[in-house]
Symmetry: C2
Subunit: 135 residues, 2 copies
């Protein structure tokens, strides 16, 4: 079971990316992933494929501009696929790729965290604001 030396070490070294460095490309990628629209779109697609209008309805209040922009970027990044069915009228389905499903595990976790811990955060805000009132 100790066959993880040279090959694994090279593997480690090869992905010597560090998102803490401003000029590292992974820093920009982290910036892209750290986007509310990305979180919502990827989370929405986690259970299964959806059409454009389904997504628009699910992500309440998203403008067509932001929805399309986010979908295009995620398609380009290999997170999801866009499938056009040339019926009348047209039908377009969006589906996570294996890479996207992998990412979805993390992003839905963040979204769920926000939902599950909002009360604690809210309480912390009230405490902070109370302590810093007129002090």
């Amino acid at each position: 079971m100790a066959t993880r030396t040279a090959a694994q070490q090279r593997e480690q070294a090869r992905s010597a990316y560090d998102a803490f460095l401003r000029d590292c490309p992974t820093n920009q990628l982290l910036d892209r992933l750290s986007d509310k629209w990305v979180s919502l779109v990827v989370s929405a697609l986690a259970p299964g494929p959806l059409r454009y209008s389904d997504l628009a309805r699910r992500i309440a209040g998203v403008s067509p501009k932001m929805l399309t922009q986010t979908l295009r970027t995620l398609e380009r990044d290999g997170i999801l696929t866009r499938t056009v069915t040339p019926s009348v009228p047209v039908r377009v389905d969006y589906e996570l790729t294996p890479l996207g499903r992998n990412l979805a595990l993390l992003l839905t976790a963040v979204k769920d965290w926000a939902e599950n811990h909002f009360d604690e955060v809210h309480a912390a805000r009230l405490r902070y604001d109370a302590d810093n009132t007129g002090a």
Copy 2:
């Protein structure tokens, strides 16, 4: 061990927050968490407390403005604590709260994902751009 019925069900119902809804407060919270600076600060503090200047050095290229702004917001939200030691010169330490450490597990996972899957994303971009050149 089967004492998780009524109380737990109410617990579930009580946190009926849905971040997909624009006007749900958790949507705003998700927006806050979906921030590159938040990810980096929380990830940087995951191993242990750091001083202001340590953070500035670790998160290469962050401006004092963004660093302070991010730290204040996270402090208000109960994610981290700020401890001033009135020595000469002053010493200020930032440390994750239990809530923050919990969140850090998720955010460092996203940061690590960016580092570990950048090559795949980059390859996808090249493919996308090649397919959409002059087409």
